[in-house]
Amino acid sequence: MLLYVVRRILYAVPIGIGVTFIVFSLVHIAPGDPISALLPNEATQEMVDEARREFGLDRPFLVQYAIWLGNAAVGNLGTSIGSGRPVATEVMSAVGNTFILATSAGLVACILGFLLGIVAGLWRDRPVDHIVNLITISGVSVPHYWLAIMLVIVFAVDLNWLPPLGIGPDRSGGWRPDWAHISHLILPTIATAAIPMAVIARTLRASVVDVLDQDFITTLRAKGLRRQSVLWHVIRNALPTALAVMGLQLGNMLGGSVLVETVFAWPGTGFLLASAIFQRDLPLLQGTMLVLSMFFVFLNLVVDLVQSATDPRIRRT
């Protein structure tokens, strides 16, 4: 086990470095010079050269990458062109808000997806399975940004039950678990949770069906084990697959948050990324991407380790 953990962690290092390289390259696939956004149109060639030297853009690509990586490692992600504030500060203040939404959506998606998947798998080809199938097919196919708009139309515009956008009643104060803040959280949570919930339910149903078909379940039933005890065996065997999918979906929620956060004006990392794109604020785009993708790499690592802890077969491969 220890050997597996060490190997898996070592394996995450080159992946992480590759990810930083791609994130860094993003700025260089962008058309035009990043400098052109900073300088006035009538800037002379000398001014441009001066600025290029100042930002290190006259150095070779790999040298620039090494410098950037070194700075990023100590928490210096550069300065936002839009706000003039350090990128690290901007990203960190947004991460908390995304974390609130991701936690609440993740809980909803995992709990609902788990229950729906188990129920559909246990009662395969019965009416309840067909109903769950209808829900999950819609769930995996729904454009979550459209679902977000539909939720706003129904619950904010028509019924006027819940607020249509924002994170809370005031922009300045921190997040507190009171009704004013939770009411703002409900609609974004549903919109974010829909796809992961459906994917988790579908995967879990498939693995429950798979486990039920195995001989040991027949043996357990034959030796007279009670239903609940058999159910425990089924869940125990379906769990590793479920955990893997849950982890991956949790990470994908971070990506999907770009659209949902835009619809709800939720001041998280997705919203930050979208505004970085529209202001062509490349350092901010780079910094946000770096933090989000590093978190995703870390999450994948944790998922693999947890999965191998629950399923010894994985360690051997």
Binding site: G18, V19, I22, I137, L254, G255, L273, M289, S293
Partner: protein, 299 residues
């Protein structure tokens, strides 16, 4: 996938001479057609695709013709059957024309992903060793990004535009398809008939063409087809963010984004472009499920 269905059919014809020979693709098609849900979904998609292709004949109005009096007209208005958009253009016509851009934006990246990812995956799987390591580890790096995030970041860096969006989305679909292609190719490569072919002196090109490709193409295609519904959500998402085509071009994601401002005036008209994305995504999912089920060899 050892021994395609066609070979089993051959074996049967040998035992029962009067039985007609059915090719594998005919059998799959037959099984697909016996699934009413998948067939209905395929039918709906066909109607939407044909309407988009022949939009100049089908659409009741010019999709660019604005009319102030029909701004955000209700659904059922005589010359605006599905209502008017924020500039009074006919929404039905724009939805029909919108399929051209929206569906191309969804299908093209998967096609590129299928070609590039399939090629890389088959190469990695067949070559094995260091080539496999190099290709698959490079894919792992792209895999380490949440998919929509990667598309948004690349498209965001490249700037708005149809080609940039397609390029960004292609980068999302290459790694998963390559991974799938690699795993089936590795599997097929170890089968006895491939080893036998190699031992009997067949060239690599011939083994690839006759033994590997014919056995890996099915699973790879099915997997790629299952990605189209993901692609349409992601592609329209990019348009929704303004990273796709520019206005006044009709595109479902862009229309949804523009009509979002009007949800207090006429919410149901505002919801329609998104409903089109949803319908297409559901249908692509159902069709792909149907194909997968039709290709499964029953136990």
């Amino acid at each position: 996938m050892h021994g395609t269905f066609g070979e089993t059919a051959d074996a049967e014809t040998a035992i029962i001479p009067e039985m007609k020979h059915h090719s594998y693709s005919r059998v799959v098609l037959g099984r697909f057609m016996r699934q009413p849900v998948a067939m209905t979904a395929a039918g709906i998609l066909l109607v939407i695709i044909l309407a988009a292709i022949f939009a100049n004949y089908v659409a009741p109005a010019d999709p660019f013709q604005t009319r102030v009096a029909r701004r955000l007209a209700e659904i059922g208005t005589p010359d605006r059957w599905l209502g008017g958009d924020e500039l009074g253009r006919d929404l039905l016509s724009r939805l029909i024309y919108g399929g051209r851009i929206s569906l191309s934006m969804a299908v093209l990246p998967v096609a590129v992903g299928l070609f590039v990812g399939g090629l890389l995956g088959i190469l990695a799987g067949y070559a094995g060793g260091r080539t496999n390591m190099a290709i698959m580890r490079a894919m792992d790096v792209f895999y380490a990004f949440p998919s929509i995030l990667l598309a948004v970041a690349i498209a965001g860096a490249l700037g708005p535009g149809l080609m940039n969006a397609v390029l960004a989305l292609s980068m999302v679909f290459i790694p998963p398809i390559a991974r799938m292609a690699e795993s089936v190719t590795t599997q097929v490569r170890s089968y006895e008939f491939v080893i036998a072919a190699r031992l009997s002196g067949a060239s690599t090109a011939r083994i690839m063409r006759e033994h590997v490709l014919s056995n890996v193409a099915g699973p790879i295609l099915v997997f790629a087809s299952s990605q189209v519904s993901v692609s349409i959500i992601a592609a329209s998402g990019l348009s929704f963010l303004g990273l796709g085509v520019a206005p006044p071009n009709p595109d479902w994601g862009l229309m949804l984004s523009a009509l979002r401002q009007s949800i207090y005036v006429n919410p149901w008209v505002a919801a329609l472009p998104g409903a089109m994305i949803f319908i297409c995504s559901v249908c692509f999912n159902l069709v792909s499920d149907g194909v997968r089920r039709a290709m499964e060899v029953r136990r």
